[in-house]
Amino acid sequence: MYIYDEYDHAILKQRVAQFRDQTERYLEGSLSEQQFLPLRLQNGLYVQRLAPMLRINVPYGMLNTTQLRRLARIARDYDKGYCHVSTRQNIQYNWPALEQVPDILHELAEVEMHGTQSSGNCIRNITSDQFAGIAPDEIVDPRPYCEIIRQWSSFHPEFAFLPRKFKIAISGSESDRAAIAVHDIGLQLVKNDAGEIGFKVLVGGGLGRTPVIGSVIREFLPEAHILTYLEAILRVYNLHGRRDNKYKARIKILVRAMKPEVFAEEVEKEWAHLKDAPSTLRAEDITRAKGFFTEPAYEALDDSAAQTQLDNEKADNIAFSKWLERNVRAHRVPGYAAVTLSLKPTGIAPGDITDTQLETIAELADQYSFSEVRTTHEQNIVLADVKKSELFALWQAAKSAGFATPNIGTLTDIICCPGGDFCSLANAKSIPIAEAIQRQFSDLDYVYDLGELDLNISGCMNACGHHHVGHIGVLGVDKKGEEFYQVMLGGNAGNNASLAKVLGPAFDAEQMPAVVQNVVNVYLENRTEEELFIDTYNRIGISPFKERVYAKAS
């Protein structure tokens, strides 16, 4: 993974000093609340319902075990002993004291981490595929480009006061696991007929109160030009994006108002001036970035021997075999596999993790996976490089630590925002809904049989829980001070991205487990042998679900 040099350290040190000074000026009263607001946000600090919330970037989801242990220590020393993996692969602390935030940022800087631009109207943390570098379907490893763009966007002087927040995601594989179609900019790495690397550029996607699938504005942008082209997009947005209404300020509104073709023309016009500027990447610049994402020291392993051993272990142990099926993925290197540790056992807020659990994961990563982990936008943690021959041992260790719930990609692997329990923006609680649904579907065999089914919950229309792209989406709404839940069906975050449709009138919290059960029943009664939930939904449409749910609920 990327390693800081003296430049990176110097810049980050100055950032921490800058924020310490700003915090002191705020506390002594010479910096107003209003002026401090964008400054603290751009260091990750929100003031929330119960306490501040501090969001720490995990650039494209990569963490080493030194960083994990530091995150654990911070959770213990400055918080209530736990933190939260967010739906953008970041880490959030829920209870830090404002006065101590500069100290926390100092501790983070020591391990090459920060909260810079994790919030506010600026370019946010770049997100990517949690299986980057190891996925068998990968075209190009996206991480070197993520890092190049991370550096370009960090402390960018021109784009720190955009009309609204700005999110970039990059996918380098055939199957899109980074949800690039619902980002302000989505970049798909591709190779052209000559084998040259470039990007397909999508712009104007997003969730929130106006969900939109991004439009392709360029089919092939040669890799050398990525930074100048991004600069052109951002400049058009910075100058022309709406600033009169924060709900219409995202780039998706501008792209839609201008029409994507016209927006693309504006970008090309701006880019004509910037193209071939010194920010154009030379071959050696890309090579240098790639040098940080080399393979770990894989051993030459006999894949078939490892597989035979695994098959035997599987035959003896049905629980292990289920875990293998759901939580373990193929790896492009023979004899290795990628393991997802589930942070979604029933009864725990999805994505929450304690200090000791973080340390346990660090130990597992040191022992089994080259001392690195990845956070996922589904709020789990991946050990990316595990020997197949050690999967059984890892499973046992993960099981006793509580990370082996075999539910990855299933109904109970719920994506869920912190909701009304923590967030001041939320209209309704989300965590108790997730828990009630997990309890309704506590039979693992049953959940397992349902197969891949994304259930996403947001506590308000800001959509941090990505409810529009859940196969089943749940949105918390407030009606005259009471919390209700709107259910939607048919969303999809990956390739063939689609937005979910609203099923009908909202439900109260108590009804939700039964509503989801009814939806699942309609699927079970209608599915053909190969169909996943989303396939059946696409074939039979929303009506059968609607009829069932409202027949019984009324």
């Binding site: 002026q35 964008p38 002087p157 240098r288």
Partner: protein
């Protein structure tokens, strides 16, 4: 007389900022060094070009292109912040410097804040006239040096860090 920060030094302001005239008001430009609104300058360009003490200020919804190639005939251009959250001035400043080659005084006016000085200066702004007299300029100008190293290219440093790292 009000003071401002220019090229890192606190100096006395010599320029009067003329507000935008109301619809029914005359747009008479006073004598003495005056920064006129873009609209006034566009309307009275022929007359104003005879004077060497006229600058132009751009509001955040106006574009650098509206001055364009004329920029270098002006001794001073100002970019206005209607509010400090309105970041259009950053792009406008950069375009004036990098696209239209403006080399005169580029001044931030209006409701910007001290903590934006470093980024503004990277975008080519070299003078800072705070709206409020309460700002301690000695303290404020320290923020010009919040960062001394940068990842990206800017008006101050046309080479991004990745090109200097490997040099």
């Amino acid at each position: 007389m009000q003071k401002l920060v220019k090229d890192g030094v606190i100096i006395e302001n010599q320029w009067h900022i003329m507000p935008k005239p109301e619809a029914d008001q005359s747009a008479e430009v006073p004598a003495g060094p005056t920064i006129v609104p873009l609209g006034v300058w566009l309307e009275q360009q022929d007359a104003l070009q005879q004077r060497d003490d006229i600058g132009v200020w751009l509001d955040s919804d106006e574009l650098a292109e509206q001055i364009g190639a004329q920029a270098n005939k002006l001794p001073l251009i100002a970019v206005n912040f209607p509010g400090f959250m309105d970041g259009r001035a950053f792009s406008i400043a950069r375009l004036l410097r990098e696209r239209f080659g403006f080399t005169g005084e580029l001044r931030a006016i209006g409701d910007f804040m001290r903590d934006q000085l470093c980024y503004l200066s990277r975008c080519g702004v070299n003078a800072f006239q705070f709206a409020s007299d309460d700002v301690d300029l000695e303290q404020a100008k320290k923020s010009l040096d919040d960062f001394t190293e940068f990842y990206q290219a800017g008006v101050d440093q046309p080479l991004p860090l990745f090109r200097r790292r490997t040099a």
